[in-house]
Symmetry: C2
Subunit: 511 residues, 2 copies
C-alpha cells in the first residue's frame, strides 16, 4: 500500500496530490544505506570543496527562490515578505557555514608534541574532530525553509561533512520537494557522492529514520511530545545516538518597575508585535509577560491589548495547529485567577485572532496543573502581574527552563543583575531590552537551553556552533606527519587556527 | 537498616569495617540538595579562584599521598609504584585543569557586534558557556585515584564550576574516603561553598544519584552493562540529563606484514607488556592482536607468548572481577577455531595468570556469538592471524568501535593509510607504532569513542577537552557591558582568547 503525499493550500483548504509517496521502510533503509556509502567519501573531501558545496547549495536555492517562496506561501500562509526573508536567511546561513568551514577552527585541531611532564614522558598526540556519519533531519512546521529541508540542521550537518536524510514536514511537502531539488542539483553539479542528500515523507519514515542502524545522529525541531518520543527511541537503540531536539518553550519576558515606568507603552507595543509575529508560531514567542502591578504596568498592558487587538485575523499553519491553539486558550481562560483580555473563538478554521490573559503572580505560582506555564503554540501570552520582588521571583521560580529569557530594565536598575543571573540559569539566550523572536545566524548565537527547551542543552541549533553537533574527536598518537590528516600536519598546510602545546596559534597573515 | 561499608585487603581477603555506612535515599537527596545550593555560588566565583581550588585539591592530595597510596595498594593490590604514579597523574591533572581554567579558551567566549548582514541588521550577541550544575561521578574499579574520587570526572567538573557528588567504587572505599577527605579539606580551606564535594557509598545510592532531580549530569567509568543500565535511567528521567559513560572496549592492535617482518619480536614483547599491565585491568588494554600469517608473524607470536608467560601471577581487583576473567577465558577457549596458547585456571582466588588465544581471521569473523570480539576484562588477548588484506579487513569489519585502535606499520607501508582511515572511524584514539595503554593527560588527548566504547562519542573523559562535558552555552543579546559576565565584556578584563566578529583574538602579550 502506498500513500500519496498531499500539499494543502492553507488559505483555501484545497489539497493537491504530489507526484511522491510516503517512504516505505525499504525506501528509508535504501536512503540511509546510500548515505552511509557516501559518508567516508564526503569525510575525505577537503574543506574548500565542502565550503564550495555549501555555496553551491546557497546559489541553487537563490536560483529557485521565487518558486520555492510561492509554494511555501501556499502551504504555510506565512506571506511572501516573511518567506522571502526566510529564504535570504537560509541562503546566508549556508554561506556563513562555508566561511566557518574554511576558517577551520571548528575542527578543534590540537597538537601536543612529545615531551616530559610531571606524569612522565608523553608521546606526540594530535586531536581533531571527524564527521559522525549520516544525519537524520526533521523539518519543522513553522519555518518551511530556515528550519526545514535546506535549514540549519541540514546546513550544519553538511558543513560537518555528514550526509543527510531529511524527513519532510507534512505541512509543506511541495516546498520540501522544491528545496530538496535545489540541494540535490547543487550536490550533483558540485560532484558530491550519491547519497549526500535524501528526502523522505511520512510519519512512519520518521520513526524508521531514528531507528535506522546507519543513522548516526538526529536533528529535530518540533513539539515537546513528538521530540520526547523520538528522543526516547534514539536513546533506546542498541547503539544509542545523539538526538538534538529543539522542542520549543514558554519564554518569559520580565519588565522591571523602572522599565515599566519609563517606557511601558513602548514595551507593550513591542511585546505585542513579538508575540503575534508569524501568528505566534515561533519557538521563541514570548508567552509569559511579567509586568509590575500599578499604574505604569496598567499602561503597559493597555498598550499591549490595544496593539494585539489591532493585529488582523491570520491563518495558522495547519488545521490541527489552529485547533490546538483554540483549545489551548480555552484551557488557559479556565484557570483560577485568570482574566481574559482577548480570546480566539473555540471553533473555526485555520484563521485565528490573538489571545491575551492576565493573572497575578500568586495565582500563576499556584496553578497546580501548570497550564499557564506551558507553551501554547500560537499568538497568545499570559500577563503575570507582580507586586514585590519576592512575588516576581516566586512566579519565575515555578517556570521550566526555556530557549530565551527577556528582561526589560533601565540603566542602574536594581533588578537587572539578579534577573540576568536567573536568566542565564533558566534559558539558552538572555535578551535585554529587546524581543526574543528573531534568532540571528552568526558565530555567537545560542538557540537551545536546558530541558524541556531542548534534549541537549550543550548544543545550539542555530549559528556557527551548531556544526559541533555532528562531529566527534579523534586523537592521533605517534602518527607520522605524512599519514596525518592535513589539519594536524606539522606545517599547518590548511592555515587554520590550532592549539599547539597548550597555546592557541592563529596565522598572523590572516589573523 | 544501615549497611556498614567494608574495605577488603585483596591480597589476604581480610575485611575491615569502616566508620561509614551506605547512603540512604535521604542522605543522597541531602547531598544533592547541598550541591544544588552550592552551584550558583560556585558559578559566580572567578576563574582565578576556581584554578586556586583545583590547585588546593592537588596539594592536599600530595600531602596525604603516602597514606592514600598505602590504602589503595591494600584495596587494589596494584602495587605501590603504579599507585604512586597514579597519584602523580591525578595531582598533575588537577594542576593542568587549573591552567586550562585560567587560560580561559574553554569558555568559548564569542562576540558578534551589532551590524548589518545579508539577513538584515543583527543585535549585539555574545556567547560563553556556564556550568550545568551538580555532577554525579562514579568511581571506577581499576583506577582508584585517576578515574575515581579525585580523578578526571571530578577534576573536570570542578574546573567547569560544577559541584560533585561522588559515588565511591565498592572495591576501594577506604581509598575513596581518604582521597575525599583531602578534597573536602582543600575545598573548605579555599572557601568553597558547602556542598561543593560530597561522597556516598552503596549500589542504591548510585541509582538514586542518577535519578536525583538536582543532578544535572553524570560521569561514569565502568562496565558496559552497568553503564547502559545507568544511561537508560538518565535518559528516561522526566528531564533527561547527559550521561557520559566510558564503558571500556575490545581494543584492536594491527601489525602489518612489513612491521611484523622488521620488528616482530619487539612488537610481541611490547604487546605482552601492554596487555598484562595492571593485570590487564585497563579499558585501553589491547585485547585483539591482528598478526600476519607466516614466519614473521610466528616469530612475533612466539615472542609474545614467551613474554606473557614470564609475567608472574598477580591479584586482580576483586574476587568477582577475577571470577569473571576466569570464566571469560574458558568461554574464549571454547570458540570454534580457537587455539589456546596460555590460559588461567578456572578456579581460584583473585590471583590469576594471563591468557592468550590464537585464531584465524576467518574463524574470528565467523564467531556468530561474538565472544572473541567482546572485551574480557583482564590480562587476555586473542591473536587473530590473517593472510590477505581482504582477510584482515573482513575481520576488522566485524569489530565494534573501541576506545583505541593501534597500528604497527613501517615507513612507506602500503597498508598504513587505509588502516588509519579505518581506525579514525572505529575508535577515539589512533595509536601508531606504540601501545594503547597509558592515556596521557594533556590538551590533545581523546579518551572516548563511538558506542559501545562510550555513551557519548562527542566527548572525552581525559584531557583538557573533558571539561566541556559539564558546560552549556548561553548567549547574551543586547546586554549592557557592566551587566555582562567578565568573559564577555568589551575590554576583555580576563585577557582570554575570544572570537570577535568571526575572528579569533589572542592577546599578543600572552600569545
Amino acid at each position: 500500500m502506498t500513500t500519496t503525499v498531499e500539499s494543502i493550500d492553507v488559505r483555501t483548504g484545497e489539497a493537491t496530490a504530489l507526484d511522491v509517496i510516503e517512504a516505505s521502510p525499504g525506501a528509508v533503509r535504501s536512503a540511509c544505506e546510500r548515505a552511509a556509502q557516501a559518508a567516508p567519501e564526503l569525510a575525505r573531501r577537503d574543506l574548500r570543496w565542502r565550503a564550495g558545496l555549501l555555496g553551491a547549495m546557497a546559489s541553487a536555492l537563490e536560483e529557485d527562490g521565487d518558486a520555492i517562496v510561492q509554494l511555501a506561501d501556499r502551504e504555510t500562509a506565512l506571506g511572501l515578505p516573511r518567506l522571502a526573508g526566510e529564504l535570504r536567511r537560509t541562503v546566508y546561513q549556508l554561506r556563513l557555514f562555508a566561511r566557518v568551514v574554511e576558517e577551520g577552527s571548528f575542527l578543534g585541531a590540537t597538537i601536543d608534541h612529545a615531551g616530559d611532564t610531571p606524569m612522565g614522558p608523553l608521546p606526540d598526540v594530535r586531536r581533531m574532530v571527524v564527521p559522525l556519519g549520516p544525519v537524520a533531519v526533521f523539518g519543522a512546521s513553522n519555518f518551511p525553509l530556515a528550519f526545514s529541508v535546506p535549514g540549519g540542521d541540514t546546513a550544519s550537518a553538511i558543513a560537518a561533512g555528514c550526509p543527510v536524510v531529511i524527513k519532510a514536514h507534512p505541512a509543506h511537502p511541495a516546498t520540501s520537494e522544491a528545496a530538496f531539488a535545489a540541494l540535490a542539483r547543487a550536490a550533483s553539479s558540485h560532484g558530491a557522492p550519491n547519497g549526500t542528500v535524501a528526502l523522505v515523507h511520512g510519519f512512519a519514515a520518521g520513526i524508521a529514520l531514528v531507528e535506522d542502524p546507519d543513522v548516526a545522529a538526529v536533528g529535530f525541531t518540533g513539539s515537546g511530545g513528538a521530540g520526547r518520543a523520538l528522543f526516547d527511541r534514539a536513546s533506546a537503540r542498541p547503539d544509542p545516538i545523539p538526538f538534538y531536539g529543539e522542542l520549543g518553550a514558554a519564554n518569559a519576558l520580565v519588565v522591571t518597575p523602572l522599565a515599566a515606568g519609563s517606557r511601558g507603552e513602548e514595551i507593550g507595543a513591542g511585546a505585542a508585535q513579538s508575540l503575534t509575529l508569524g501568528v505566534g508560531q515561533f519557538c521563541t514567542q514570548p508567552g509569559l509577560l511579567f509586568v509590575p502591578e500599578g499604574a505604569a504596568g496598567d499602561a503597559l498592558v493597555a498598550s499591549l491589548v490595544a496593539a494585539v487587538s489591532a493585529v488582523p485575523e491570520a491563518h495558522m499553519l495547519t488545521t490541527s495547529i489552529a485547533a490546538a491553539y483554540r483549545s489551548g486558550v480555552q484551557t488557559d481562560a479556565a484557570v483560577d485567577g485568570v482574566r481574559t483580555l482577548l480570546i480566539a473563538g473555540p471553533a473555526g478554521g485555520t484563521e485565528v485572532t490573538a489571545s491575551l490573559f492576565e493573572t497575578t503572580a500568586s495565582s500563576f505560582a499556584a496553578d497546580a496543573a501548570a497550564v499557564l506555564r506551558r507553551e501554547c503554540f500560537g499568538p497568545v501570552s499570559v500577563v503575570v502581574r507582580y507586586g514585590t520582588t519576592d512575588d516576581l521571583d516566586g512566579a519565575l521560580g515555578v517556570l521550566d527552563p526555556a530557549l530565551t529569557f527577556t528582561i526589560h530594565a533601565e540603566p542602574g536598575d536594581p533588578d537587572a543583575q539578579r534577573l540576568i543571573e536567573h536568566a542565564s540559569r533558566a534559558a539558552g539566550r538572555v535578551v535585554m531590552n529587546g524581543y526574543p523572536t528573531g534568532v540571528g545566524v552568526n558565530w555567537a548565537m545560542q538557540h537551545g537551553g536546558p530541558w524541556p527547551a531542548t534534549t541537549s542543552s550543550l548544543h545550539t541549533s542555530v549559528g556557527a556552533g551548531s556544526i559541533a553537533r555532528w562531529l566527534r574527536p579523534v586523537a592521533y598518537q605517534g602518527v607520522p606527519d605524512e599519514l596525518l590528516p592535513a589539519a594536524l600536519r606539522e606545517g599547518n598546510p590548511l592555515g587554520i587556527p590550532r592549539r599547539v602545546d597548550g597555546r592557541l596559534v592563529v596565522d598572523l597573515l590572516d589573523g
